[in-house]
């Protein structure tokens, strides 16, 4: 802007940038941030934090084959936002102060990702552009997870990733702006491998049913790796298209193999479908079923009879309420509101929202690089959560957290309608996480 005197005055925009930069810098300095970030506007900051509220964009598949898991996921988020905004007993138990996050009410929008990465990206892009979303989160598919991580990195908006089990999410497709709470396939299988290896004994032959996408291949590779020390070998590997409904030809191959163990990697409705058909083809009589990552409603939809004696892992199961008070609070509040015990899809939504809120309060600002720093520094000061103490690894943003290994209960042993599993072990995250760098993670820049 030229005021006519030959001097160029600052325009309003520059003035604002300077002011905000100074304010951001002061905030960081006041909180003893380890390094001064150049606090220029970044992504939706500070525009998204100016009013009395901030916005969080949530995507979850409310339609498509994962819609049951997606609905559960949504309910977990809704409960967390309600509790955080109310600032009641549960939020205080997590260590949050007052109402909202840093005193700001958290608004949120929930969009149906339809299980399609492009739809998820489109919805979150709108949340970022229209609502100035300060954080994005949610999905029930690794393909969508990876696409949203890319978006988050490009837009400089924090992304609490998942549900997503593929190694790539915190492996070769990791991003500085993405943080995942769910165990990777590597972690789940490293926790499960020795348990089934010891239980079923050495030198077993394994038949795999593998859905043809990054998650399926991740789990197959990891399970094979961690049962190899027990002499387990592959008798059959059936890779099936994601769109499959009839598994007869793949199951016929498996039934005709001389495998002792049937590892079913299919997820959600496909897991129910394929397990049901495996039973009809006699596979479950000939072989022991192992499910490395049990879907949220797999036991409920298949029935306890088919899941009896099945080993597997889950992100979380409601029986952890006996071990962790925050899980107890979660189960009680969720059941009161939704009339069933939450599954792990809901847990991921609930946990990630709280961890994000805690990280923002630790950082003392919504400024993304500062929140990233707070999450990356959590090893020194772990978060107390529904899973006990957890922290994110600075190298790849994978949450280091215990992995529950469970065993399907006999129908007669169930104490309530959701009581499908016994906890076999809660394997410490430190024992099963991959060495940093193994999966080729290179985090991008924060600024």
């Amino acid at each position: 802007m030229d005021d006519g005197s030959g001097r160029t005055a600052l325009d309003r925009r520059q003035l604002l940038q300077l002011g905000l930069g100074a304010a951001g810098g002061l905030t960081l300095a006041g909180l003893g941030a380890p390094e001064a970030f150049a606090a220029k506007p970044l992504g939706t900051w500070p525009a998204g934090t100016k009013g009395k509220s901030v916005f969080v964009g949530v995507t979850t598949p409310l339609t498509g084959a994962y819609s049951a898991d997606g609905k559960d996921h949504e309910l977990g988020y809704e409960l967390a936002f309600a509790e955080i905004n109310a600032g009641g007993k549960n939020a205080h138990a997590w260590g949050l102060k007052g109402k909202g996050v840093l005193g700001k009410h958290v608004r949120y929008g929930i969009a149906d990702s339809e299980l399609k990465p492009n739809v998820g990206v489109q919805a979150q892009t709108q949340f970022i552009q229209r609502e100035k979303a300060i954080m994005i989160t949610g999905c029930v598919s690794s393909a969508t997870a990876v696409a949203l991580e890319e978006l988050a990195q490009r837009e400089h908006v924090l992304n609490m990733v998942g549900a997503s089990g593929a190694n790539e999410t915190t492996g070769k497709d990791c991003q500085r702006y993405g943080f995942r709470s769910q165990p990777s396939a590597y972690m789940a299988c490293k926790a499960l491998g020795p348990i089934v290896g010891k239980h079923y004994g050495r030198n077993k032959k394994v038949a795999y049913l593998v859905p043809d996408y990054n998650y399926g291949h991740s789990v197959h590779q990891a399970f094979a790796e961690f049962t190899k020390p027990y002499g387990w070998t592959e008798a059959s590997k059936q890779v099936v298209p994601l769109s499959a409904s009839d598994y007869s030809s793949a199951l016929l191959n498996i039934a005709n193999s001389d495998a002792d163990i049937f590892v079913n990697i299919e997820f959600a409705a496909a897991a129910v479908n394929s397990t049901k058909q495996a039973e009809q083809f006699g596979v479950l009589k000939k072989m022991k079923l192992v499910v490395p990552n049990i879907s949220s409603f797999q036991a409920r939809d298949l029935g306890a009879k088919l899941m009896e004696g099945v080993y597997g892992t889950l992100d979380w199961w409601w029986i952890l309420e006996d071990k962790f008070p925050l899980s107890k609070n979660f189960v009680t509040a969720f059941e009161a509101k939704n009339h069933y015990r939450p599954s792990w899809g809901a847990h991921i939504g609930y946990l990630q929202t709280y961890v994000w809120a805690l990280a923002v309060e630790r950082a003392g600002t919504f400024y993304p690089p500062a929140v990233i720093k707070a999450l990356e520094a959590s090893k020194a000061k772990p978060f107390e959560t529904t899973l006990g103490k957890v922290w994110y690894r600075a190298e790849d943003h994978q949450m280091v957290r215990p992995v529950p290994v469970v065993l399907g209960k006999a129908p007669g042993a169930m104490k309530n309608k959701d009581d499908y599993f016994d906890l076999v072990d809660l394997v410490p995250g430190e024992d099963v996480i991959n060495p940093p760098g193994l999966m080729g993670c290179k985090l991008g820049p924060a600024v």
Partner: protein, 291 residues
């Protein structure tokens, strides 16, 4: 290289899978072949049939009653759908028909999701279909074996009704020139309604018979719609014998490919379809210019 017994097992499975695919495709091809309507709600109607089965079995435990009540329900759905929506689209371009039936399918799927939720519902195998049969070296689920016979009988029945009575003739003539057929004293509208409703019942019954095999959930129809289209493209759009033969061919392609590598079963199916579209665009039994 797979062993001979495995190859033979897969060839047999191809036959069983093929009959299922033929049944699933029959409803689609009936409506397309006689009324000339591309029914994109076919998958949703398949799903609706499976849910009808689920509801009846949950209340009565009877599989036969499930089929009978389910078929009646689908008949009502078919009549309503035709009267309210489809009859307005007989003379509209294919694009309009695709859009309106696609829209109807979304409404049906989301209505079912609103009532039953997104979870998979369990439909048990009927008592007479439980267990595994042994045929020489082959072990095969009894229910799937029995389905081969049941489906063959159903397909024959549909064929006799539609192509060995005057109704199919009336409808096909009506599509060419409704006024002329009307002048001959034939109620064309009623024939259209009947054929559409029969197509809907065929879609629903295939969902009912498939229900004990697959997980019954709102989105289950989508994959079957795609497969049914592949089948009728191979067999010839709108050709009833084409749907049967196309179903069997598709079943064999999927199964035999799986004996070598299941990852390529879909690829092979689409490759054959593409090849056929190049060499014989009207499909095996289709005639050029029809539809």
């Amino acid at each position: 290289m797979p062993s001979a017994p495995l190859l033979l097992s897969q060839a047999f499975n191809g036959l069983a899978l093929g009959t299922l695919l033929a049944l699933v495709s029959s409803g689609l091809t009936i409506i397309l072949g006689t009324l000339g309507v591309l029914n994109f709600a076919h998958g949703a109607l398949f799903m609706l049939g499976a849910y009808a089965m689920y509801v009846v079995i949950a209340h009565t435990g009877s599989f036969l009653l499930g089929i009978l009540v389910g078929a009646m329900f689908m008949l009502v759905v078919g009549v309503l759908l035709e009267r309210i929506l489809i009859r307005l689209f007989y003379n509209r371009p294919h694009e309009d028909q695709i859009l309106v039936t696609f829209g109807a399918s979304i409404v049906i799927v989301e209505a079912v999701r609103a009532v039953f939720g997104g979870n998979s519902q369990h439909v048990p195998t009927p008592g007479w279909g439980e267990g595994i049969a042994r045929i020489g070296f082959l072990f095969y689920p009894l229910y799937r074996l029995e389905l081969i016979g049941i489906i063959a009988a159903l397909l024959l029945l549909l064929y006799l009704i539609l192509y060995r009575t005057s109704i199919g003739l009336v409808v096909r003539a009506g599509i060419e020139d409704a006024r002329m057929v009307g002048i001959l004293g034939i109620n064309v509208q009623r024939a259209f309604l009947l054929v559409f409703a029969i197509g809907v019942v065929a879609a629903g019954v295939s969902g009912m018979l498939y229900a004990p095999i697959v997980s019954v959930q709102p989105d289950m129809g989508g994959n079957f719609l795609v497969e049914a289209f592949v089948v009728i493209v191979i067999g010839g759009l709108g050709s009833y014998p084409g749907a049967v033969v196309g179903g069997l061919i598709a079943g064999e392609i999927i199964s035999i490919t799986s004996a070598f590598d299941s990852a390529y079963s879909d690829v092979m199916l689409y490759a054959v379809m593409a090849l056929l579209l190049v060499l014989r665009p009207q499909g095996l039994f289709g005639s050029e210019g029809r539809v």
